[in-house]
Symmetry: C2
Subunit: 340 residues, 2 copies
DNA sequence: TTGAAAGCGCTAACAC
DNA sequence: GTGTTAGCGCTTTCAA
């Protein structure tokens, strides 16, 4: 039990009465070390409380054992459970996870680019649909990277996400099965692929049910609560109201529900609402929200597994890995009021 | 513009036609380098796109430039804005921030302990009231550390938080000023100091208003939405109901409001409710929640500033740094119904 | 199966 | 004001 500065490989070697090379081998390639020697080394490690100095190791190896996870906003309710998957997978392969949040500011992104360039991370997981690094990203050498949720536009980077089209299809099919015909899609976006894919699912579902083009009601949004509210206001200025709102995500749905409630309507009696994501609030809002659950932990796990593959120089053929979201039926959907 | 492996200090030195020592000095102690030389070096850095290899630097210096932030749950709505303060302060002093989340599992804590022992972080910010490392933390050398929100019980670690007593006092004084006399405190906890301090503020306020001990209604909770609901159910099984609920935090308040609404009551007509923290949801819930705003960014900034002081071997006398929360008056409080 | 030694990229003491 | 050099702790040839 040394007490001053942390034990080094040399301390272990001295106590075990072997060379530092043997200690290193006993740790990383134990099969290349005689049983008796390995035992001595292990004892010495226990005595000293030795842990490998990751700096020195990374310097020597030319790569670190950290993965940088870049997210625009770690307050995002989706984020933390995905992180669990990411971390568990990384950890079980000897990697640590480092979280960078850019707050949607390119300036912050550049800091991380510097970080990457100084070799402090072996790979990168991106939570954003674009490389958050501005123009410099073009000239810089990026480490192996994997996107989560959305493809990374300017990178040719593989990604793991959810099958948005199929998921949206589940929602729209439910609404149609309940008898809805005039269903609005709230939250279309040209800049967010996930959102426009969900709109695709909406259109596919309507088409499959033989509902004419003219009955489609599509409003744009950016996925915030506020955008849901706003879209609702716009809708109420038209003459034909839908009987159901299929929202691009839960935040939007919450905005719509808040707006509807404020106008004195009852959900689901007067209007049905669906979301997408299954954020924690979905179970607390009144009525509880029917939505699609993102397989978050699985997404995280698979994204990290993919990155580790890349790091091992195995390049899979596919560039898009989609998992299936589950439809979670709660209380925000019912049959439309007869006559409407 | 080199293209293969990242430029090293040697590349820069060669191009600038100086020694590597001069390059290092030009970067870290520019005043010790002749203007003309510095210029050449800067040009060479620009040409090569050189960034210091943080691994090598840390190894040489014997300390890293990363600060580990350990949080039990990064999904906590308080967390991300505090992180902003932490990060900005750290970054402006050349430190990076690394986030570790323990998910309240001691096992995870141990991983971070190993991380610290391998010298990968120079210091630590703790978001939890206890060292999340189990028994081993006793024997291990911990780096300079600072707590956020709550003192760290088993460490003698200074912390930056909010003045919970004074904050709670603001809430209770408001309720009393509105005319409430029977006010319940929801969310007392023996294990969370911040919570019991808020209860202290509650008691102080009642005492100052001359409200007798017997009128105190105190229920326990763990600060979750569910705990708020639960406490409410318990209260409704008693015969004397309060006219106002002073909740230990916003989550609890939301639980109480949800429960009240579910029972058909109107807030604030039938009951007033206050929270603590000012989470984002406080503005979206209906009615909007009167609460105390944590000066989050300031807390983060100050905590990191304190840690940087420690890292510079300056040890302040105080061990507790409290900032004042602001009372944010919204719509969940009104005068009690006459006759109640 | 083990040891000696080179060297990853950097900083700082020392010499000039 | 600048260069030379030792060495941070580690992994990995190369020899034995």
């Amino acid at each position: 039990m040394t007490n001053s500065s942390p034990a080094t490989i040399e301390d272990v070697a001295r106590i075990a009465e072997v060379s530092i090379a043997t200690v290193s081998r006993a740790i990383h390639t134990p099969e290349k070390v005689a049983n008796s020697t390995r035992l001595k080394v292990n004892q010495a490690i226990a005595i000293t409380g030795y842990t490998t100095n990751a700096m020195a190791r990374s310097l020597r190896l030319g790569r670190s054992n950290m993965i940088l996870v870049v997210a625009p906003d770690i307050g995002d309710p989706n984020f933390s459970s995905i992180l669990v998957g990411l971390e568990n997978e990384a950890r079980s392969h000897g990697y640590g996870v480092l979280i960078g949040h850019t707050q949607n500011e390119p300036q912050r992104g550049l800091e991380y680019l510097k970080f990457l360039n100084s070799n402090q991370a072996a790979g990168m997981i991106l939570f954003t649909g674009i490389l958050p690094f501005g123009h410099q990203s073009m000239t810089a050498r990026l480490p192996p990277s994997v996107g989560v949720f959305e493809p990374v536009f300017n990178g040719g980077i593989p990604y793991v996400g959810v099958d948005d089209v199929a998921g949206a299809r589940k929602a729209i099919d439910l609404l149609i099965a309940e008898g809805h015909r005039r269903i609005a899609f709230i939250g279309d976006s040209r800049t967010r692929l996930a959102f426009s894919r969900r709109r695709e699912g909406y259109e596919e579902g309507l088409a499959a049910a033989g509902i004419p083009q003219s009955a489609r009601i599509i409003l744009e949004g950016d996925g915030t609560i506020e955008s849901g509210r706003l879209a609702l206001e716009q809708l109420f200025m038209r003459d034909t109201l839908p009987t159901a709102f299929m929202c691009v995500n839960d935040q939007t749905a919450i905005g719509v529900m808040l707006g509807l409630t404020a106008r004195g309507y009852d959900i689901p009696r007067d209007f049905s609402v669906t979301g997408f994501d299954d954020v924690p609030q979905a179970t607390f809002i009144n009525p509880t929200l029917t939505t699609l659950r993102q397989p978050r932990t699985a997404i995280g796990r698979q994204a990290m597994a993919l990155l580790l593959q890349l790091l091992a120089n195995e390049h899979p053929d596919e560039t898009e890995f989609l998992l299936m979201p589950d439809l979670i039926v709660r209380n925000s959907v019912s049959r439309p009021r007869s006559g409407k």
